[in-house]
């Protein structure tokens, strides 16, 4: 994308006014998407963007500038703008020499290059999904199916001599359905997303996604209002992983911790969860949605154990926060695009499976709520209070899953809820998600096996 000699000159320019650290992050992303709605292919879209973000760190201050102009002059202008924060900080000529070959990522580490499908191939999949959803029941009144794929090449060079790169192909397919009945409308949604090219569809059946989305919408037509108040909750394997993403994942991000804006600050070595909880964040897992070769600061992705048998073992780190503590990044410095500063972000965050039987857990729950699918969540890291929404839930009565429930949010406090986990099964699975923080979105994975919380507040309307 950019010559090494140019990168060296730009980094030297960035440190001309002083400063402790300079970095060039260059990105070239192309994406395409197709949308089928109301039985018609309504829109095919293609996009391309490339540019670079340049950061200069001087003491506690970061200067940042970005440009879509990857010529040497364009990069030098951005370097000058970013270095404005270091004015008066010594300066002088500093030569930056980049190392021979730093970490290289997914696309270069021997993995097969991602395959691409034609536009016609994508449209055929959309048509098949639409047909399968509509064939699921007369109540299905509307179907939308979407396909999106992107290739993101990144190049990172910094004044420590690091030169690293990655190529990330990501593909997703989603189906959303509306069902119409006497009680009004209900919705169902299912998505598959992997760090892969078109070979996603070797692993995923679009018909199956469509039928799952349709069956949720249809089931909820006869749903009763969700209960109001505290009840035991059994979370099915997969999307329940978002519980950990919200209940503690964000609170373990070092940028919150170092500002004392996390309920988990100062708790390393302490018991913060049920002994059944071993929580891992791992950017190297297969082709999960949060997987990459190197992070957006050039660190290779790695596996980090955050909680082991209930004891907090470590936080997640990026370059800046790690440097402050005299340690190295844990490979969690990520950014939405070259226009953004990196932050501490999760990758694939999951609870290690236990040895209980999923059916047994339900059978041993006299009354409660069974959540088959979660929709999303949100947390306040400083108080630990979080919500997560159900998009398919059922009542458990006398140990049996019975009636479907209308959508509701569940609310809890992270440190309290983590201690209320009393059963974890072995039926582990992962689910993709989009994590938003401070205005930046990045792809992440969440995972867990079927598990039970002894009590959570359910925000339904039934008294």
């Amino acid at each position: 994308m950019i010559d090494t000699a140019v990168l060296e000159r730009v980094l030297s320019e960035a440190l001309r006014n002083g400063g402790d650290f300079a970095e060039v992050f260059a990105e070239d992303r192309s994406s395409s998407s197709a949308l089928l709605d109301d039985t018609r292919v309504e829109e095919l879209s293609s996009g391309r963007e490339r540019g670079a973000g340049i950061r200069v760190v001087a003491g506690e201050t970061t200067g940042f500038a970005h440009t879509a102009d990857l010529s040497e002059q364009g990069l030098l202008r951005a370097a000058e703008a970013a270095s404005a924060v270091a004015r008066g900080g010594g300066g002088g000529v500093r030569t930056v020499a980049l190392g021979p070959d730093g970490p290289r990522g997914v696309g270069r580490a021997g993995r097969a290059a991602p395959t691409t499908g034609s536009k016609a191939d994508a449209l055929e999949l959309l048509g098949r999904a639409d047909e399968a959803a509509r064939a699921s029941g007369k109540g299905i009144s509307q179907v939308q199916a979407g396909f999106g794929t992107s290739t993101r090449r990144v190049l990172i060079a910094n004044s420590d001599g690091l030169l690293a790169g990655d190529e990330q192909a990501r593909t997703r397919f989603s189906v959303s359905c509306v069902a119409l009945g006497d009680t009004g409308m209900q919705t169902g949604y299912e998505t598959a997303a992997r760090t892969l090219g078109f070979e996603l569809f070797d692993e995923v059946s679009v018909e199956e996604l469509a039928r799952t989305a349709a069956s949720q919408a249809l089931a909820k037509l006869s749903a009763r209002p969700a209960p109001s108040g505290e009840l035991p909750v059994v979370l099915a394997g997969g999307s329940g992983g978002i519980l950990f993403h919200e209940a503690c994942g964000h609170g373990l991000e070092a940028d919150h911790v170092v500002k004392d804006a996390s309920v988990y600050a100062g708790k390393v070595g302490q018991l913060v969860a049920s002994p059944l909880v071993t929580l891992v964040d791992d950017g190297t897992v297969g082709s999960e949605w949060g997987t990459f070769g190197v992070d957006d600061e050039g660190r290779p992705a790695q596996r980090n154990v955050l909680i082991e048998d209930g004891v907090l073992t470590d936080y997640l780190w990026d370059y800046l926060r790690a440097r402050k503590e005299g340690r190295v990044s844990s490979g969690n410095g990520r950014r939405q695009s070259y226009r953004d500063l990196p932050m501490v972000r999760m990758t694939n965050t999951f609870l290690l499976p236990g040895d209980a039987d999923a059916d047994e857990i339900v059978a041993q729950t006299p009354r409660g709520v069974y959540v088959a699918k979660l929709g999303g969540g949100q947390v306040n890291t400083a108080t630990g209070d979080f919500v997560f929404g159900t998009s398919m839930a059922y009542l458990i009565e006398d140990g049996v899953i019975t009636e479907p429930l209308r959508d509701a949010n569940l609310i809890g406090n992270g440190p309290e809820v983590l201690k209320r986990i009393d059963a974890v099964a072995s039926d582990f699975s992962m689910t993709p998600g989009t994590c938003g923080k401070d205005g930046q979105s990045v792809p992440v994975g969440c995972g867990q096996a079927t598990m039970r919380l002894t009590g959570v507040t359910i925000g339904g309307t039934a008294e």
């Binding site: 391309r48 963007e49 970005h66 108040g229 949100q378 929404g389 509701a408």
Partner: protein
């Protein structure tokens, strides 16, 4: 056909929109016989300063630009965009949009907007002052905001962010169907987020001040709001479950109206994704509920002269006296419904395509004296909500199911009483519109697509301890 149009590389907003119009016109001029082409070009600059513990934590300065092209051939739509106005990307972007069109389903309603004769109401959204202010003054304002917030109250134990930011942007839209429009706007903000501590317990609050220019930004407003919100929640406990009237403060009311707005989109209605579909002329809300979208009001944060297809923005009455009057349409959704566009197309920048949406919703205000205190006094007993979470995960604008996390204070004897947290409030959007008990006269144009007005809604289920 020109291939060396790189004169816009590195130029900055503030130079006027003429060169953007000229560029859009040149690209639209490359249309082939039998195809309609619409070219949207935009560029902007931004500054962002974050202060922390008396230092600049980060300073971002950047410019960006891009182009989005729609091509319609034989009633098929294709779209492509690029994050650059460099001469080298323009032809490729048009070619890609053209190729994409070939794959879409032919649909008689798919077309580009044509001028409809409605004159645009010019709104002045540009403040030269913001563009000209030296970066040092912007940094100074952020540092001042942070320092004063820290000193504002002994219970503030952390200011986790104190930001200054501004954006200036220009855009032009030209089509082969006769559309030619341009716009430019500036906006600045101060925002601060705090953690209040009292023993082990922490509570958070945020505040902001927004404006078109630099001089109108008010650090006192931002910090007072943040500090008040955090401090008054100290000691909050999980409130009891109950069925109750809920008063939403102005910020939360803006969020609620924004959600309702998606059910007023003509596209959602046409595709059977709105609980308002087929109900025009029916009583869908309390008789006191009158809802209007009026982007020609220059006070509105979302004010605009032209919509995203280049038609004049206009005032649209949506609900009057609780009776549903109509929906918002762009050209395609209007055609599908057999009506003209209401000038309501919106788009998320050059990388997105237009669709119908609101820009400036307001409710007809309640009686004089209905500020926050007035509404609380009128309600007497209930729950006052100052923050909501899970609006994306617990509100379904298609089914209407509504269940969100909340923080706030109990209302007793018409006044704010003890704080509560970790509760949910639930109902359905349909029932909430009918159960409206009071609308504030305290209209404040907050960031977003709807005004802030204190709202009281009856018969909501609170889940807590």
């Amino acid at each position: 056909m020109s291939t060396t149009t790189d004169e816009l590389r590195g130029t900055r907003p503030g130079g006027g929109t003429d060169e953007l119009l000229a560029l859009a016109e040149r690209v639209a001029g490359w249309a082939r016989t039998g195809e309609e082409v619409e070219v949207y070009v935009a560029r902007g600059t931004e500054t962002e300063v974050r202060a922390y513990e008396g230092e600049v934590e980060s300073l971002t300065s950047a410019t960006s630009a891009g182009i989005g092209i729609r091509v319609v051939t034989d009633h098929r739509l294709g779209f492509a965009w690029a994050g650059s106005l460099d001469g080298s990307v323009l032809e490729g972007t048009l070619a890609e949009a053209r190729d994409n069109a070939a794959f879409a389903t032919a649909d008689e309603h798919v077309r580009l907007a044509v001028p409809d004769g409605v004159p645009a109401v010019e709104v002045d959204l540009w403040d030269d002052g913001l563009v000209d202010v030296a970066t040092a003054r912007k940094i100074g304002l952020a540092l001042d905001l942070e320092a004063r917030t820290r000193a504002a109250d002994p219970r503030i134990r952390q200011v986790d962010s104190a930001d200054y930011g501004d954006v200036s942007s220009e855009a032009a839209l030209v089509s082969t169907t006769g559309i030619r429009s341009s716009s430019r706007k500036t906006s600045g903000y101060l925002s601060v987020s705090v953690i209040a501590g009292d023993g082990d317990a922490s509570q958070t609050g945020g505040g902001f001040s927004v404006g078109r220019g630099f001089d109108g930004l008010d650090p006192d407003k931002a910090l007072t709001d943040a500090v008040t919100r955090a401090v008054r929640l100290l000691g909050a406990t999980k409130g009891p479950s109950a069925r109750s009237t809920v008063v939403f403060d102005r910020r939360m009311a803006t969020a609620l109206l924004s959600i309702v707005s998606s059910a007023l989109s003509g596209e959602a209605v046409a595709k059977g994704r709105s609980f308002f579909a087929g109900r025009v002329g029916e009583q869908v809300g309390h008789p006191g509920l009158t809802l209007v979208d009026d982007p020609t009001d220059p006070r509105a944060y979302g004010a605009a002269a032209y919509d995203a297809e280049g038609l004049a923005c206009r005032r649209n009455a949506l609900i009057e006296g609780g009776v549903l009057r109509g929906f918002l349409y762009d050209t395609v959704s209007g055609s599908r419904a057999g009506v003209a566009s209401t000038g309501s197309a919106v788009r998320g920048g050059y990388a997105g395509t237009p669709g119908p949406g609101c820009r400036a919703l307001t409710l007809a205000p309640g009686p004089e004296g209905y500020d926050e205190a007035g509404v609380l006094a009128a309600v007497g007993e209930g729950l006052f909500v100052q923050s909501l979470t899970g609006l994306h995960s617990g509100v379904n604008p298609i089914s209407g199911d509504f269940s969100v996390g909340a923080e706030g204070l109990m209302i007793r004897d018409g006044r704010l009483a003890e704080p509560v947290r970790e509760i949910t409030v639930a109902s359905t959007l349909q029932r909430m519109l009918l159960s409206l008990e009071a609308v504030g006269a305290d209209v404040e144009w907050l960031p977003g697509i709807a005004a802030g007005q204190t709202l009281a809604i009856g018969d909501m289920q609170i889940s807590g301890a």
